[in-house]
Amino acid sequence: MILRVLFIVGLLLCVPSVFVLDHALTLGPASWALDQKTFWGTPIANFVFWIGLAHAGTFFSAMLLVLNVKWQKRISFPAEISTIAALFVAAIFPLIHLGIPQRFYFMFPMGLFRHLYVNMESPLVWDFVAILVYLCLSIFFLLIHGGSLRFPSLVAFRRPLAWVLFPLVLWVHTIVSLDFAITLVPTWQGAYFPIYFIMGALFSGIALVLILSELEGRRLRRLEDLLIAFSWGLLAFWIWEFMTKGIWCSEILFFGFLIPQLLWVRPLRAIPTIRVVIAMSVIFALWWERIKLVMPSAPEWTLVDYGWIALGLGGFMAIYFGLRLVTKRVFSDRIDTVSTGVSEESFPKKRIALYWGIGFSAALLFVAWFMVRVPTVPGVRMVPVFFPLMALVTGFLIVVDAFSRVLNRRVLFGLLGGIGVILGMFAGLIYQGGKTIFDESPAIIATEKMPESSRPVDVIWKSRCASCHGEEGHLNRKFVHEFYPLPREISVSRFDSLGVDSLSKVILDGRAFMGAYRGRISELEARSLIEYMRSLAKEAP
């Protein structure tokens, strides 16, 4: 009964979000709160939050499965559904943020395809690939889990697939953290962000699963213990953030650390409402943390910003409780108790090695193909997409192997053919493309490592330097002064006193607030840039 009520509440919450969605798609980013310091806004904050929540399912089903934790079977199926629901909700926000959601396929790493350069050095592309693969494999995992009720032989495939998902789930949130960690915004710079983000995601995920299990009348004491354990881990990260950047947020500490400590008190811990309230407090703290991170200047919120809360909550509730109702009807309650164990029948190790080998080779082939098309991309920056692609191929082979055991060959080939046709149609859509004309040569956008320069120096200046230093060399004060102390104005005398060698070192290796450009600008180009700056200084009034 309660599942049905929550499903309807979710649908009702989705109603206002339809209007918000329409408003946001019509007006674009102008419809939500933005200013000079907050240039991503609530869509990205909500995306990071929901993608974090999506970790819960895989954490409980895959990670704990490979670690042989017995109690995971009591919650794994609802947790897997919550992953799918949270992923679908999370995927909405970057699409809105794109402004032109119908062109989302431009994020596919195609490599100078139709004169469109998809920047493989950008974490946004890695994000797209990793999340798409995670969604596909999570659905496969859920299918095998559900299918194992009817076909017990499928249980043997859960563990090999869990081994694919285990690193992938950590990979996804690491990539999300790199969206922030590699930028020039001082408060986002953190080499410790990958682990910090993973911890935050798992913490919120555990709180979500605790709420979902309480709603179904189950109590898992281990979840409460995990909540306390992770609250201490997060405390360490919040203090480190304070030590390194001076960022401190009392309300996050209160809701995210102090409130969960109530779980130490046994009489309080025994009350289901208190447990749910504590878990909700954790979720609120981590949502607020993402908001504070993405929106450091706290611009005034519009109705659209509030609408995202309804969209996220309503969308999640509608998808999760809808799927839960359907699965309960199809499998009754057996799905939560019977088929979740690990089969005694072990999967042949040779075959696992073969699938991983094929996955590795496929990912390697893709990287080779991409780098032949765009030779300027440094190989190491292909690593973030390498593993998700390898995982996709390996996972797909395991799933095909699994269903080849239980399905009729004709049905299986029909299914595979259907998937092939859909993919082919999609490839055709990309090939046909839109009518956009790109004036800029892709070679300009490519971040290349060149022994010798072939790019005009003014183009490099405009693409690399002008955002801070200004097109005419008079500083882009509007942008710079928000984040950094203003650098000194360029003058001929200053150039002559510093010398070409030291200035080119500053360009290549960075200094104080100036970022390093080694690997993106060659030494020859750095020297040409100095000459160009000198010419601008001469022209300066």
């Binding site: 950590l170 690491t174 953290s177 790199l178 960690a181 590699i182 020039l184 710079q189 953190g190 080499a191 410790y192 962000f193 990958p194 682990i195 281990r222 409460e224 213990d225 995990l226 306390i228 354990a229 992770f230 609250s231 201490w232 881990g233 405390l235 360490a236 203090i239 480190w240 030590m243 390194t244 779980l263 130490w264 190491v380 690593v383 290549l508 290796d509 960075g510 970022g515 390093a516 450009y517 080694r518 690997g519």
Partner: protein, 153 residues
Amino acid sequence: MSPLMNMLACLLAMLPAPFLWQGAMPLRLRGAFLGIVLLCFECFIFFAVLPTYSLYEILPLEMLAMCLCVSTLFLKEHTAFFAVLSQCFWLWIVFFGTFSLSYRVGASPDYIQIAMLVVGIILSPILSSKKQELRFCMAAYWAGIWVLAFTPV
């Protein structure tokens, strides 16, 4: 960061290792203990290392990873499995930490440290046996990785 502080950090990281998994401690207490250990590492790095050191931000996490690696030598079962996981954790911190730094300060990842960790992951199932000599070798190998990763600035 001075070489002395680097050595001290290595020793400090090994110090809590024998106590991490000792006794039948509830999960919540063990989690809190790990959090406090990480906090201690952070305080040490905060006071002992200048923020200008390029790896400053990830040093406490690296200390925790090393602590976890050494702690696996005191486990009674699944030693090799957890040694591999702990080294993967260390590798993760180093690779993605230096990866983000490569964008910001132009520093390339420390490939020697990464290669040594990969070798450690491969060797763990062989070396993490019950023989004390081999366990000592593993601890010495991890200390070696720590020391070699030091870059004087």
